[in-house]
Symmetry: D3
Subunit: 129 residues, 6 copies
Amino acid sequence: MKPIDPATASPEVKAVFDDIKATRKVNELNNFWLHLANEPRMLKHTWESLKAIMGNGALDPLTKELIYVAVSVTNNCEYCMASHSAAARAKGATEAQLNELYAVVGLANMTNRLANAYKVPVDEAFKRD
Amino acid sequence: MKPIDPATASPEVKAVFDDIKATRKVNELNNFWLHLANEPRMLKHTWESLKAIMGNGALDPLTKELIYVAVSVTNNCEYCMASHSAAARAKGATEAQLNELYAVVGLANMTNRLANAYKVPVDEAFKRD
Amino acid sequence: MKPIDPATASPEVKAVFDDIKATRKVNELNNFWLHLANEPRMLKHTWESLKAIMGNGALDPLTKELIYVAVSVTNNCEYCMASHSAAARAKGATEAQLNELYAVVGLANMTNRLANAYKVPVDEAFKRD
Amino acid sequence: MKPIDPATASPEVKAVFDDIKATRKVNELNNFWLHLANEPRMLKHTWESLKAIMGNGALDPLTKELIYVAVSVTNNCEYCMASHSAAARAKGATEAQLNELYAVVGLANMTNRLANAYKVPVDEAFKRD
Amino acid sequence: MKPIDPATASPEVKAVFDDIKATRKVNELNNFWLHLANEPRMLKHTWESLKAIMGNGALDPLTKELIYVAVSVTNNCEYCMASHSAAARAKGATEAQLNELYAVVGLANMTNRLANAYKVPVDEAFKRD
Amino acid sequence: MKPIDPATASPEVKAVFDDIKATRKVNELNNFWLHLANEPRMLKHTWESLKAIMGNGALDPLTKELIYVAVSVTNNCEYCMASHSAAARAKGATEAQLNELYAVVGLANMTNRLANAYKVPVDEAFKRD
């Protein structure tokens, strides 16, 4: 589907677009939001969820961007890898940190399958009430 | 396959077991290593890779455990979720941080599929040489 | 591998091609069938399975196309998203329905991981003999 | 993590719990909500998104439950399969419909990989502006 | 859903059950077939496909069982890992071969994500007309 | 990230590059290694693991390349499909073998989901101590 043109968006969509721009202090919206606006309810819920979770909180914003990249690499989502690694760099991620992130993601995908293959039972020490 | 008993392990396996215990300052090995020892070459390579990457480096060890949990939740590896969330807690992760981690992982898995569904083109601003 | 040219296909492949065209009342085969014909046994079994399941049955054909799109978005199969969303539109899917479908797929991928992360036990009410 | 006890939940969590019970006309909450309440922001956003999308809309509620099951089977989320197939049955899904759903999900997962393996190019007829 | 009792199965289902037993020279059917019989069309198509592909062919039967295990480990399908590793052992797979298989599956899952993360372009030498 | 130019690589990276070329008897490195060299530790560990596992061993090298392709098709890693199917062909894989491989991968991905959907219990005969 085609992206929604902000100039002709419905008031409902326009309100979300304006909030994204004001919150992020940007003049332009990236393609994800313009496309998701085809479903105004999901545009609103996705934006509100991300605004609530990805800013300051228990984890710092950079750590959360790195986690986002890790999931996106695991799922091979090219758009999400591009947008969230750009966000990570904008929040200060160095090339050395991204390289190490990729290493961790690769290793986790490997040991996930080794644990499956050997049907390793969870250690008592790792169990919680 | 059955786990390898450290008491009767080959010298090759025993050397890795000893290095894990010395490096981590523990007396017991968790089930993952005991099972993986059925394939001594992978035991050695997996341990050496994790030792090189998961300790101090460009990212702090706690961040790397959180990334490991994020991949393991995405792939639904129960053993890996249990072992790496235990490791994250041992390195200081709070319950609030783990809850926020789960939120980010959930959101990333959602937006990965929304980006797929709408075939969102990568923004010029996200492209790199 | 290259697609199989219907003009020079083996009788075994040609018989399947002819059945697809007759069943679907089309003159041309889409690329999927032309490529799959490299393995004539799978061409036959895949076509016969789809013919049996995707037509009239317990679920209406449009619902089944939407389910096909949902799986393809989850797995990020670009070809399958394109072909089955075209089939869904041909069977009457509206843009509003496709947008809502994408929303459901996104939400399901999110809550799947939240259920994993919290290791939510299955409620007694959901269990069946 | 342990589920949140509704009797001692925070006002923020309690408000969501009450809305779920009122909207669904039930007296008890299923385990998913009790666990997700460990992260009150995600509890609220997940509930509001599902309330907006899964009820009446462009697609009927039963179709949306079937799509939810399809994604959950693809991802092998046992909890989500159990809860959403129960919801589908409550909305009128017959055993024949569920069996046919499983067939479609199986076939889609197969043809997704066949399309990958043969790198089938998207037909011109499936492309859209 | 409950498995189908062969004693009371429909003639259509019984015919497939008999063919499985005759082809495999066994007296009992494993649980997969008894459950899949809830959808007789998929029972028939799945059995006929597997009969055509998994026996003698371009690849030897053991190699095909190992490939089946590799996919099942990657997808974390516990039933399929159990049934196809049993089939592989019955066809002569040694423990050393299974351990090496698991190693390859682990490494492939790792390098798949490293290739994603670095967006490695396909070498000219690997491209085909 | 950009690939590392062998002419200006660090001694640590150069040593791995030289070992790859000497072991494989090639003059040029493929793009995977040039990109992975951005993280010299993973370059070294990945190469040493693959060198140890993918050569002669319990399984023959061609079988291991086919398993690699099977995982890569399941995960839809385009680069890995291209590089490992080229390696399989170089080790003697015929087109008939590759077609049969794709068939097995498709079927395994289908029956994995059917086993999930029906929650098929593991047969006693498949269980091991």
